[in-house]
């Protein structure tokens, strides 16, 4: 089983390092020929506008959407979660492409600018008892989860920061920036 990591832009090497530590084979996906060789896909953190444009320019948007519809597990962190969302709060910027696979609304830069970026320990039932250190960087929020969506994690005030819809996973934070492998292992078991 090869784990593809979308490597157009963003912190894809951090995901790669985490998976290699676990012992999972990885492949950087930059072109459609790479996508054909992978069984799962991680969309890393980065700038969703830049990644979205490159997805279209290099003919990856449709093939990823198609694979996602057919059941390939996909995990989006931060920018990746925005690309997975079917809806964007307050409108997607004009011409901004998206995979639109998950029945969720993503609110971009929901906490504000960089000065509002933060770390917090969250209890996430799906990962066991120990709290997870989560890192939010100019992060989005997940809103209006559809009936097929399971909420995996919320902040203390109830706002949604991780969700799952079958084989699709969206997190607003960055497990790849911490030493904790549990979210990556969780994705490998989907």
């Amino acid at each position: 089983m090869t784990i593809g990591i979308l490597a157009l832009q963003g912190d894809f090497r951090e995901h790669e390092a985490m998976l290699q530590r676990i012992g999972a084979p990885t492949l950087q996906v930059r072109l459609p020929k790479h996508l054909a060789e992978v069984d799962r896909l991680i969309i890393p953190g980065g700038e969703s506008t830049a990644i979205g444009k490159l997805l279209v320019l290099y003919g990856l948007l449709e093939p990823i959407r198609e694979r996602g519809r057919k059941g390939m597990p996909i995990w989006g962190t931060c920018a990746g979660a925005i690309l997975l969302a079917q809806r964007i709060a307050e409108g997607r910027p004009a011409g901004q492409p998206a995979l639109a696979l998950m029945d969720i609304t993503a609110r971009r830069n929901a906490f504000g600018r960089q000065l509002d970026s933060f770390e917090v320990n969250l209890s996430i039932e799906a990962l066991g008892d120990a709290p997870l250190n989560t890192v939010f960087i100019r992060a989005p929020l997940i809103e209006q989860p559809g009936p097929a969506v399971r909420v995996l994690a919320t902040l203390a005030d109830g706002r949604i920061v991780a969700a799952q819809q079958g084989h699709l996973l969206a997190t607003c934070f960055h497990p790849e920036l911490t030493g904790d492998e549990r979210f990556h292992r969780y994705f490998l078991e989907l």
């Binding site: 490597a7 157009l8 832009q9 963003g10 912190d11 894809f12 090497r13 951090e14 930059r30 072109l31 953190g45 980065g46 700038e47 506008t49 830049a50 444009k53 490159l54 320019l57 290099y58 931060c78 920018a79 910027p93 011409g95 971009r108 830069n109 504000g112 600018r113 960089q114 000065l115 509002d116 970026s117 933060f118 770390e119 917090v120 890192v135 939010f136 960087i137 100019r138 960055h174 920036l177 911490t178």
Partner: protein, 293 residues
């Protein structure tokens, strides 16, 4: 909930990797940059080529101009403070800017001290020409680095020199035994603890972009192949004939830096590049990279 931790500061730079950060002087240019796929913009009043041409003292930009650019785009916005000018940095932080560049492109305000960047909540990027300078900046709290190159020239030669120097020094460091690290740290005037970390990890403790003289898609890909994490393009885009097209081409070449066919494709018909000044023709006192201590 802890805000502005070291992890969030270096983390934003991680998210910018593989991307292009573009100098812009108006909200309109910022929108063109975002539309072309820039991962961030650097808001400033004059691009380095104009600072070079017009001379005089180059300072922090007008806050209203920076705020206008922050309003115009959803990607992160950076702005420059003069080396050592911690009040300009305080002002930029109060505006809610996403990253401050303590930059040699502006006229230095202090010829001995850099800003103590640990005192700030906002993260800083700083320039470097070699490993010693890079690690001195990290010791002062820089959460991101960029090799300096020679800004405003369109000549990539100094960017190459500085990137090669940094990565050669890192490779040399990884082959040293523990005893040699102490003397090496002393010789490059960098804190021993950071030198040891680099020797162990085989890489810098923070993200490092290239800057200063990148004007074409091939220049950007060259810097990526030399090992940098991304590129800053200053005067190269908006001093060229077709900024939108060139901006997008540089974005594509930065992502696909190992695919010469793609770089060839995006390099076709880009129109006039910025005119450029050969760095070797510049007198010593016109070089910006020497600023910083």
């Amino acid at each position: 909930m802890d805000k502005s931790t070291w992890t969030t500061k270096i983390g934003l730079a991680q998210m910018l990797k593989g991307g292009v950060i573009m100098d812009v002087v108006t909200p309109e240019q910022a929108r063109i940059a975002e539309e072309a796929g820039a991962v961030a913009v650097m808001a400033l009043e004059r691009v380095p080529a104009d600072i070079r041409a017009q001379g005089g003292v180059a300072r922090m930009s007008d806050p209203s101009m920076i705020l206008g650019i922050m309003e115009a785009v959803t990607i992160p916005v950076m702005a420059k403070a003069r080396i050592g000018h911690f009040v300009e940095a305080q002002v930029l932080e109060s505006l809610g800017i996403d990253y401050i560049d303590e930059s040699e492109v502006l006229t230095p305000a202090d010829e001995e001290h850099h800003i103590n960047k640990h005192k700030f909540k906002v993260p800083f990027v700083c320039g470097c020409r070699n490993l010693g300078e890079a690690l001195r900046r990290v010791a002062e709290g820089a959460a991101m680095l960029r090799t300096k190159g020679e800004a405003g020239t369109g000549d990539v030669v100094e960017a190459v020199r500085h990137a090669r120097t940094v990565y050669t020094e890192i490779r040399r460091l990884t082959s040293m035994d523990e005893d040699e690290l102490f003397t090496y740290a002393k010789n490059i005037q960098a804190p021993y603890e950071l030198v040891r970390q680099v020797a162990e990890a085989g890489r810098l403790p923070v993200v490092n972009f290239a800057a200063g003289g990148i004007a074409t898609p091939a220049d950007a890909a060259l810097m990526m192949q030399l090992g940098v994490d991304g590129v800053f393009v200053g005067s190269g885009i908006f001093k060229s004939g077709d900024p939108a097209k060139r901006a997008r081409a540089i974005v594509e070449a930065t992502t696909h830096y190992n695919e010469p066919e793609i770089i060839a494709e995006v390099s076709k018909g880009l129109g006039e590049p910025m005119v450029g000044i050969s760095v070797s023709s510049l007198p010593q006192d016109k070089l910006m990279a020497g600023r910083g201590w």
